[in-house]
Structure formats: C-alpha cells, structure tokens
C-alpha cells in the first residue's frame, strides 16, 4: 500500500507552491493538487479535488487544505471517492511538509498521524 498527498487550496498557485516545497523533502511521494475553481477563480472545486485524488498514483492519500470552505468541498469529494482519503485539520504548509518528509523516510501511517496531531489548529 502506497501513501500519497493531496493539497487543496483556494488559490491554484498556493497549492502548486506547497507541492514544490514538499517535493524538496519528499522526492518519491506522489503529490497532487487542487487549487481554485473550475473557472480559475479563487475558491475550491469538488471536480478538481476529485481529479487530484483519483490522479494521485498512491493507493491512499493524506489530504490537506487551507480554509474551512475548502474542507467542506474536500469532504464532498471524499464521499464520492472510491480511494481512501485521510483528512487532517492541521496547518497546511507545515502539515504537508511533515507528512511528505516522513513518508519519504518510509514511516507508517500511524507515525505520520502522531506527528500531524501536533500541528492541529483547525
């Protein structure tokens, strides 16, 4: 079973930027993003989130988001997705970086979650 990361943000550039940052410490972890609305405006899109989950090559994904409205669209996408998605109410950038570094180092999901629990702020 492989674990990947999905980044959801209201802003496409923010989501892409987090991916770039996390990749530095997680070269072999599959990371996909969903940023902005379908029209490229600020907001989130269930369709884009679905695509980020499905196109992620990992078997299961850890999902991170910026603000509460992104979480709601993420939770809608999760209900529609056949792939297991773990959703974390943690700091977006720091949480995703932590998860990426730990997955790259080969630790298991339980250990990742334990570390993430210290970044819970939402």
């Amino acid at each position: 079973m492989t674990l990947g990361i999905v980044i959801v943000s209201h802003v496409a550039g923010l989501a892409a930027g987090v991916k770039t940052l996390v990749e530095q410490g997680a070269a072999d972890v599959a990371i996909t993003t969903a940023g902005g609305t379908d029209e490229g405006e600020i907001g989130t899109s269930v369709a884009k989130i679905n695509a980020a989950i499905e196109s992620n090559t990992a078997d299961e994904v850890l999902a991170f988001y910026d603000l509460g409205s992104a979480k709601m669209n993420l939770s809608m996408a999760i209900e529609m997705s056949p792939k297991p998605v773990h959703l974390y109410d943690v700091a977006l950038v720091e949480g995703a970086y932590t998860a990426g570094a730990l997955l790259q180092a080969g630790v298991d999901l339980a250990t990742v979650q334990e570390q993430l629990s210290q970044l819970k702020i939402k």
Binding site: T37, D38, E39, E41, I42, G43, T44, S45, V46, A47, L67, G68, S69, M72, N73, S75, M76
Partner: protein, 193 residues
C-alpha cells in the same frame, strides 16, 4: 405540491433574488468575510437556470440538477453547503414528498458538512427557525426575516467571519441573507406555510 414545476418556480424566484442582490451579498460578505458571496451564488444561479431550462423527469432529478449546478459552479463554503442541502433533498425526495421532512434532512446534512449548529452566525440560523416553523405550519415572511435579522447580533464562530471574532457582531451574515431569499421564495410558491 412538490412537483418539477413548483421546484422550478421556487428556484427561479431564488436565482432572480440572488442576481438582483449580487452586489448587496458581496458587500455583506466583504465586511466579515471575503466579499464573494454574491458572485459565488450568482454563478450558481446562472447554472441552476441553465440546468432547469429543459424540465427534468421527476422531483428527485430536479433537486439533483440544482445540486450539481451549485456544487460545480459556486466554489465557496456556500457552494458546499447549498450543494449538500440539495443533494440531500434529491436523496430524501426519493422516499417522501413531504417538503418539511425533506428540509429537515437537508438541514441536518448541512450541519454535518459545516460541522456547525445554529447560533454560530451562519445560514443555519435561518434554516433552523424556519424549518421549525414549517413543522408547525406557521412559516411567514416575518418568521424568515426575523431569523435573518437574528444573525446581526451574533458572534461568528464558523466560516470566514469567525476570523474576525467580536468584530463580526453588528453585521448580518451573508449566507443567512441568501437563505432568507431561498425561504421567501419557498413560501411564495406555497411549498411551506
């Protein structure tokens, strides 16, 4: 009676109100949020109108068409919440044609989606008293307006307005206002009373 036509009438009234008040909703949202509630819903309103141009087959498909239009076009918290509400109406309307039961289920789904309950200065502060009144059969425009107005003195603890904490007090919640439009139109087509 709950039919494809009455739902379409309801929706047409709502989308007209949203589009007519797009600037006002944005303004309300700019005080305690990010200023896009009107624009978000106006995109959804266009999509709803387009989806209902050709009449859906039955009541559940009508709700589903509305839900999909909202989910794919609104983009903000309100898109997820109204989208969840109409998706739940789609599901529940396969079991019953009792609008009050349908509304009650929709409200519960919204509360779950938003991890929220009445009193947090959101659209739920309109849904809760109106659905309660609908159960007793005494929905009136005043009941709806009072519910919208009640959000003014509340302190936001959910959504973007929660970031400004105390400073949210004294301003109407934009989502409460748009839900007010929703229920005024529902009342006018006679689906609640």
């Amino acid at each position: 009676m709950l039919t494809v036509e009455t739902i379409a009438q309801w929706m047409n009234g709502w989308t007209k109100d949203i589009k007519a008040n797009k600037g006002y909703l944005n303004e309300l949202d700019s005080v305690i949020g990010d200023g896009d509630h009107g624009s978000n819903l106006a995109r959804g309103a266009d999509a709803i109108e387009a989806a209902l141009l050709t009449a859906p087959d039955d009541v559940p498909s009508t709700f589903k068409a509305v839900a999909m239009a909202i989910v794919s076009k609104v983009g903000g918290a309100s898109g997820a919440l109204y989208g969840t509400a109409f998706l739940e109406m789609y599901k529940e309307s396969q079991r019953t044609t009792d609008m009050v039961k349908i509304l009650d289920k929709a409200m519960k789904a919204m509360e779950k989606r938003g991890d929220s309950k009445p009193g947090e200065k959101t659209m739920l502060d309109v849904w809760e008293p109106v659905v309660k009144a609908a159960k007793r059969g005494n929905v009136t425009p005043i009941v709806i307006d009072d519910a919208v107005e009640s959000t003014k003195d509340m302190k936001a603890t959910k959504g973007r307005a929660s970031y400004v904490g105390e400073k949210s007090i004294g301003h109407l919640d934009p989502g409460a206002v748009s839900s007010g439009y929703l229920f005024h139109n529902l009342f006018e087509v006679g689906l609640v009373g």
